[in-house]
């Protein structure tokens, strides 16, 4: 993203485009990465509800994976995941592993 000069900023530095946080990639902040284990997933969508960064991808009301461009690796999804019969559907793994 090209950075603006001081005289190119919108008035008062206001953010005039709704939802433009999507353009700001925060995935590189991550040290732990969530991994989805589909066979343990009951599609309760708790991960989607709890994710503070809208980084859980959902299609046709089904969890389909993670948006790693924005996931900061906070681990809330893994914490909340009830899994199936005691087996988590989301686990946190170290980046680069």
């Amino acid at each position: 993203m090209k950075q603006m000069n001081w005289n190119e900023l919108p008035h008062a530095g206001s953010i005039l485009k709704a939802g433009n946080a999507n353009e700001y990639k925060t995935g590189s902040w991550r040290s732990l990465k969530p991994r989805w284990i589909e066979e343990n997933c009951i599609q309760c969508l708790f991960c989607w509800i709890y994710c503070p960064d809208s980084a859980v991808s959902v299609k046709d009301e089904k969890m389909t994976g993670f948006d790693y461009d924005h996931c900061k690796g906070c681990g809330v999804c893994a914490m909340e995941c009830p899994g199936k019969k005691g087996n988590k559907a989301i686990v946190m793994e170290e980046e680069g592993k």
Partner: protein, 395 residues
């Protein structure tokens, strides 16, 4: 020159400013009363109760909340005003920076009063000087007429598209706010025409265009924001001159960035803000009659400070006594520091600094005479005995 502005009235400074605010008819006026500015809100809330204005007043629980409400209302897209003094302004301090950083043209009537401690309710400039670095435009007013006129001009300056910064109109607590003077009001219709409608830039209540203000800005953009703010303050100087010239053309009273009183050929010059200038003018006249080339420079605009113009006006003087009604403890008085910066590029006069009038202590004509005598002496010897000194203090 407007011929319709002839009605002379006798009012206090507070009433004069309240009348200006009635004519400006802001959308929202959040305030928390504090002496000596209370009279402004007292008069103004009466206008509201009597249906003379469309303003929504918000009586909040503190000045911090007052300025917060100003910011909210202004960001929403309203024309907003408030009034305060001393500790009230001090409590607003955090929010003053938010108002200017959001570039909201909020109008504040600041009735200057000494900051505690010791607790004191009378006039000095310690409150106004405390907001020096808050990126508010600061206008100072010698008397009720100037406070009224500055208030009438304030929105035109603050709301100019090249400026969009908040503005504070200062006048001396009690000396002006509570003293009755004769002055002239401009007819309502002419004020309305002069000030015009307010068109907010990117207001939050424009719900078809959702937006965010006040987002987190990290080192990659913070300086660009501040650079833009600096530019707005630089632009304000020309806008103030232009608006003042238009005001003079329409209403016949002339203002500029500062007032030069018998300054053209002056060799000994006093510099002072606000009401003290009235006393000094009388004494300058008396010394002129005795053949002394005395003069006064009275800054009207303290932020943005007109360094080049003040420097040019003072460069031919021999000695300049800068009078501060506030102190920067451990430094020179705040006005002195500005005058020294303004004169610095020139091989200018000898400067010295007197701190006077703190906590409402009177400045009598005899005190001014002593200052002029000392300035004459400094002009003769080319040397000031003490750069900074408190006057009218018991030794």
């Amino acid at each position: 020159m407007g011929a319709t502005t002839t009605k002379i009235v006798a009012v206090t400074g507070n009433q004069a400013v309240a009348e200006a605010l009635r004519q400006l008819n802001p959308d929202v006026m959040p305030a928390y009363p504090i002496t000596p500015s209370t009279g402004i809100m007292e008069s103004f809330t009466k206008f509201v109760s009597d249906g003379k204005v469309d303003t929504e007043t918000i009586l909040v629980e503190s000045e911090h909340s007052a300025m917060s409400a100003c910011i909210g209302a202004s960001a929403a897209g309203g024309r907003v005003a408030t009034a305060t003094s001393a500790q009230g302004l001090a409590l607003m301090w955090e929010m003053l920076h938010i108002a200017s950083g959001y570039r909201l043209p909020i109008l504040m009537a600041l009735v200057n009063r000494a900051l505690s401690a010791p607790l004191n309710i009378h006039g000095d400039h310690s409150d106004g000087m405390g907001m020096r670095d808050c990126s508010w435009i600061q206008l100072f007013s010698e008397n009720a007429q100037e406070a009224y006129d500055n208030t009438i001009m304030a929105y035109r300056i603050a709301e100019h598209k090249d400026v969009r910064l908040p503005i504070a109109v200062n006048m001396d607590g009690f000396i002006i706010s509570h003293s009755i003077e004769s002055m002239t009001f401009i007819p309502d219709a002419e004020v309305k025409k002069f000030v015009g409608d307010y068109i907010a830039i990117d207001p939050l209540l424009d719900i078809d265009h959702p937006k965010s203000i006040g987002a987190l800005v990290l080192p990659d953009y913070y300086m660009e924001h501040k650079r833009a703010q600096h530019e707005a303050m630089l632009n304000a100087k020309k806008v103030i001159s232009d608006v003042s010239a238009e005001f003079a053309r329409l209403f016949g009273r002339t203002y500029d960035l500062f007032e030069s009183y018998r300054l053209e050929d002056a060799e000994v010059v006093l510099v002072a803000l606000n009401s003290a200038a009235g006393t000094i003018k009388d004494e300058v006249d008396r010394y002129r009659e005795k053949g002394v080339k005395a003069g006064l420079l009275k800054p009207r605009v303290f932020r943005p400070f007109p360094y080049e113009e003040v420097g040019a006006a003072l460069k031919n003087a021999k000695a300049v006594c800068v009078m501060d009604r506030a102190d920067s403890y451990g430094g020179y008085g705040p006005l002195f520091m500005e005058i020294a910066s303004a004169v610095q590029p020139h091989r200018g006069p000898v400067l010295f600094n007197k701190v006077y009038g703190l906590g409402g202590r009177d400045l009598m004509p005899l005190d001014v005479d002593q200052l002029i005598d000392e300035t004459i002496e400094v002009a003769k010897t080319g040397k000031a005995k003490m750069i900074k000194e408190y006057i009218t203090v018991r030794n």
